[in-house]
């Protein structure tokens, strides 16, 4: 809402300058975007062209002698309308015009020039507001303009504009009158009455017009006829106020409808009464009904739209835009004024589809029925004054609204309790008086009568806010909080996982949950439906991710393109899906590793075992040591079939680990993803962290190497060793894997370090040797391996 201070001053005295006003309004809850003078230029004076010669060295420049009051200046000017005798706007040397354009003394093609004669556009009035004569050249002022005086004042452009960003509840402030009430409450000033006077002719519309309201979405509809309007240009003051308010002047009649909307807050529509006929029907549109709107666009309507129709067809889209067929034109003589209230939600739906306009914005926020009547009267007043209209007697009315002031009770105690301060009773009552709300006091109860213009106020909390707002929210003093002592809590396990991953040298990333749909089913074999966005911003962000790996891979690509090749990253984030028609989300942990993991001179490249180590550290940290295993089954096609696995916990798949398939990327990239939500839920059931007694007796270590088929997995041999070793075998460690000389091509040798210990006694050499030999014998037979000698 652009507020012209000249406009609002018709109704309220403002004891401060416009910048202070803007700040004071902010302090009562009405923020502004900008507060500027309408003409943001300095050093302008009225001048009179005394001489005007052609520039000796140009076919369009003039060299003028201009009387600016105190002196006569030579100014070179290119405007075609520069000529002797006209009064003009001169920007003197030192002037600054909008766009930080500084006027300096200069030589133009060898001729000295001391200033500039200005057009309206050069003074900062936007092109869209200008008439043809305004754009043809410099401004020509009237005969009565006095050289040396202020041209901005002369042009009645000495206005200021505060552009407010109003909150959605304050529809009442989308009007000059509403603003006047708000300003009045701040400075304790009376709002001045609006001139609603006009004379009615003997002609009466009663009985000559049919109004048929066929929808409940139109609780109030008023129509008034005026005859014999004279269509012409609006007076400058009116034009300027519209321009300051951001509305383009058209002609006096159209301008009046906009002016009254700005002033009263009620959008109006003026029909050419002769094109309209004698009937108005308000109804819902039929599906696929067509309507040509004012902007000459054909709109295809649906049942949720409300239309205004005559006997034959729809002639306007209620609350949004009028129709082309009944538009007021230069030839219009008689007018039917419509002032109505339509359902806010319906208007919002239609306007979102068709056009957001000044009118729809007001309908959406709700309207005061009293203002609906007032708007008709004010229109008549102005049409009579400015367009010579004859006002036809009688008003066509359909009215189902309640215009009574709301009565709300609140206690002084409650006000102070919610605000947390002590405001004296008299001050509370005073605040309501300033707001224009009547009050009654009965013991502790304060009854407030809220005027119908304040649609935002309906419960006592709203009244408390009004008190806080006007009293000054910032005067509330922070109090030591008195609440029962209790412990707080957060998801420690989740944070613990994050800490662990950081400890392991991975960098945490945070990427977008929205990814391209084509990536959603990658790096998983799970069955689910993609969760798609109805109206995505781009096709690259049109679906919610399931696996986090596509995001991590994109991060990898981004960094690789910037020559960063040592990447170890992880992310904890939600995975989204639709299963059996239901939406769901779960917390996942994913990691991606590539390049060097250990850096320095003795670098170490990431391989499968590196990321396996990260996985084990993380799972062991959560208390799952010894409970999980890797299974080569159910692998996503994006992973290398020989270097990846499903992570199994208690027979259930909880994640995947492996190398990205060479068809997907030629680089050696390793990834890991687990269902963290499940792990965190299970972690409370995992083994408690308890001290295990350390043996007092020495351990005996023995090494053995088995030669086995290359396909054989070490875990099979380890399991056999463990089984054969029994409880005296306390640890098995692989310390070498060998292929090459002395080992056949389809075989490999794995060396194990076995640790034996007895908690009760020192083991004898014989005991160990006997057990060791038993292990070798059993494992050799069971696993079809042989000892390497």
């Amino acid at each position: 809402m652009k507020l012209s201070t000249n406009f609002v001053k018709d109704y309220i005295d403002i004891p401060v300058d416009y910048k202070t006003l803007a700040d004071d309004m902010t302090n009562v809850g009405n923020e502004y975007d900008s507060a500027e003078k309408l003409i943001n230029a300095t050093n302008l004076v009225i001048g009179e062209i005394l001489e005007c010669e052609m520039h000796p060295d140009s076919d369009h420049l003039h060299v003028c002698k201009v009387n600016v009051g105190k002196e006569t200046l030579q100014i070179v000017c290119g405007a075609p309308n520069a000529r002797v005798g006209i009064k003009v706007v001169v920007a003197l040397v030192g002037a600054v015009l909008p766009g930080d354009f500084k006027i300096k003394a200069s030589k133009i093609r060898g001729v000295e020039s001391y200033g500039m004669m200005c057009s309206l556009e050069e003074l900062g009035i936007e092109h869209k507001y200008l008439r043809p004569k305004d754009v043809e050249g410099i401004i020509e002022l009237g005969e009565d303009a006095v050289p040396g005086e202020d041209p901005v004042k002369y042009l009645q452009l000495d206005d200021e504009v505060i552009d407010f960003e109003l909150t959605a509840n304050r529809g009442d402030l989308l009007s000059i009158l509403g603003m006047a009430h708000e300003i009045g409450a701040i400075y304790d000033k009376e709002v001045k009455p609006i001139d609603l006077s006009y004379t009615e002719s003997s002609e009466n519309i009663d009985g000559k017009f049919n109004l048929d309201i066929k929808t409940e979405d139109c609780p109030l509809f008023l129509a008034k006829r005026v005859n014999n309007v004279v269509i012409k240009e609006s007076p400058e003051w009116l034009r300027n106020r519209l321009i300051a308010s951001g509305i383009r002047p058209i002609n006096n009649v159209v301008d009046i409808s906009n002016y009254v909307m700005l002033e009263v807050g009620q959008p109006l529509h003026f029909y050419d009464a002769d094109k309209l006929g004698d009937t108005i029907v308000v109804r819902h549109a039929n599906n696929d009904e067509k309507l040509m709107t004012l902007d000459e666009q054909e709109r295809i309507l649906s049942e949720s739209d409300i239309v205004i129709a005559n006997k034959t067809e729809a002639i306007g889209l209620a609350g949004v835009m009028g129709g082309f067929s009944t538009e007021v034109t230069e030839d219009t003589k008689n007018i039917l004024i419509e002032s109505a209230i339509f359902d806010a939600v319906k208007i919002r739906l239609t306007s979102k589809k068709v056009l957001r306009s000044e009118a729809s914005n007001r309908f959406e926020k709700g309207l005061d029925p009293k203002r609906t009547y007032m708007a008709i009267e004010r229109s008549c007043n102005l049409l009579e004054k400015l367009a010579g209209a004859e006002i036809v007697s009688g008003l066509i009315v359909h009215d189902k609204t309640n215009k009574e002031d709301k009565e709300i009770d609140v206690t002084f105690e409650k006000i102070n309790q919610v605000l947390g301060i002590e405001i004296p009773r008299e001050e509370v009552i005073g605040i309501f008086k300033r707001l224009g709300f009547e009050t009654r006091v009965n013991e502790n109860i304060l009854t407030v009568l809220v005027p119908s213009r304040r649609l935002d106020i309906s419960i006592k909390e709203d009244l408390i806010e009004e008190v806080g707002r006007i009293y000054g929210m910032d005067k509330i003093v922070a109090k030591p909080i008195v609440l029962p002592l209790k412990t707080g809590s957060y998801d420690k396990a989740k944070r613990s996982v994050r800490n662990k991953m950081v400890e392991l040298g991975l960098n945490e990333t945070l990427s977008y949950a929205l990814i391209p749909e084509r990536e959603v089913h990658k790096y998983t074999t799970d069955e689910f439906d993609t969760v798609k966005i109805l109206d995505p911003m781009t096709e690259e962000r049109n679906a919610l991710r399931y696996s986090l790996i596509p995001s991590l891979k994109m991060i990898y690509e981004y960094n690789k393109a910037r020559n960063q090749k040592d990447i170890s990253i992880f992310e904890i984030g939600k995975s989204f899906y639709k299963k059996d028609g239901k939406y769901g989300e779960q917390l996942n942990l994913a990691a991606l590793m590539t390049g060097n993991y250990v850096v320095g001179i003795d670098k170490e490249q990431v391989n499968f075992y590196t990321i396996k180590g990260v996985m084990e550290e993380m799972l062991d940290h959560l208390g799952f040591a010894g409970e999980y295993k890797l299974a080569i089954e159910d692998l996503p096609v994006e992973l290398h079939p020989g270097q990846s696995a499903s992570i199994m916990l208690a027979g259930e798949k909880v994640g995947i680990i492996g190398k990205i398939h060479p068809n997907v990327s030629k680089d050696n990239i390793y990834v890991l993803e687990v269902n963290l939500e499940k792990l965190l839920a299970d972690t409370n059931n995992s083994k408690k962290m308890k001290y295990k007694e350390i043996s007092k007796f020495p351990s005996v270590v023995k090494d053995v190497a088995f030669v086995m088929n290359k396909e054989m997995r070490s875990e099979v041999v380890e399991a056999a060793i463990k089984k054969a070793g029994g409880k005296l075998l306390t640890n098995i460690e692989v310390f070498d894997v060998y292929t090459g000389e002395n080992v056949k091509e389809d075989e490999k040798s794995i060396a194990y370090k076995l640790t034996f210990n007895d908690k009760e006694k020192t083991l004898s050499d014989e005991e160990v040797l006997s057990l060791f030999n038993k292990i070798i014998e059993k494992v050799s037979a069971e696993c079809n391996v042989r000892i390497r000698v």
């Binding site: 509840n169 806080g468 929210m473 509330i476 609440l483 002592l485 981004y558 040592d566």
Partner: protein, 351 residues
Amino acid sequence: MQEKIEQLKQEITQKFAEIKTMQELNDLKAMYMGKKGLITELNNGIKDVAPEEKKEYGMIVNSVRVLFNDLFTATQTKIQEEIVNEKLKKDTIDISLPSKKIKRGSKHPLNRIIEEVEDLFVSMGYDVYDGPELEDDEHCFRLLNYYVGHPARDAQDTFYIDDEYLLRTQTSASQSRVMQANKEKSPIRIICPGKTYRRDDDATHSHQFAQVEGLVIDENVSLADLKRTLEILAKKLLGENTQIRFRPSYFPFTEPSCEVDVTCFKCGGKGCNLCKQTGWIELLGAGMVHPNVLKMSGYDPDKYTGFAFGTGLDRLAMFKYAITDIRLLYTNDIRFLEQFDRKDEENEIKY
């Protein structure tokens, strides 16, 4: 004899002086002290000496032996030292060469801020609640007093999944979940940090961003309590000298509602480009929980009052770590991420 012994002593002393290695030293010992060594033979010669001269002869020979042993020990020590020194010299490395280490792990700056906020509120008895990001209209809007068609929905460009499901535009959605889930309708003290989404992407907005929501429901909770809580939050995150200011505003789920400004974190309130010369920066939205919201979730507004607040965390993280472009938070450049591996400085608040 005396002369011969002196000559021998001189010879021994000179020989020791020429010794360079352990081998030479051992050879020298064999030469003099071995079975057929010169000193051994001299010693053996005692049997040929007249009995009255034996004592003197013995003393003289012994003095030679003592001299030899002393020199031997001294030389041996010297050579061993040289060997060690030689080895140390050989083993000397260039300590300025790079260290060998696992790559630096780090937490994302936004999560660092979230953890800091969590720790602060947990210390004040709040529970941290993590609500769904894929929300329904009911919890994100309707239970927060945004009826269908409410004009305030415009301020939140929403990613819809279908007619009912959407990506939450505000962590406030968690408020209604927590209130509904509380079957006893007992007092609540929670914060809900998390990801939020709006259909908006430009230089200062990201379509995905982070917020934290706070909700307290209890008897006799007031705006003054809210102010104290937010003062603590602002001072903890932005420094002890930070001031806050309340301005009335509007949110459908709070009444009264306010915007909360903090003294500009760049200029400290003097006025600069960041705060557009006002000295203040809008940081939070807050207010007293609207009675309709309490009622819709089964709380009695005559018994309970509550306050709620919400703030974006991206800007806080940007300020705290002097990050100039919001996009850096989401592009995950390794060179950016690696910088956040230090411990945080703590702002102490004194009351």
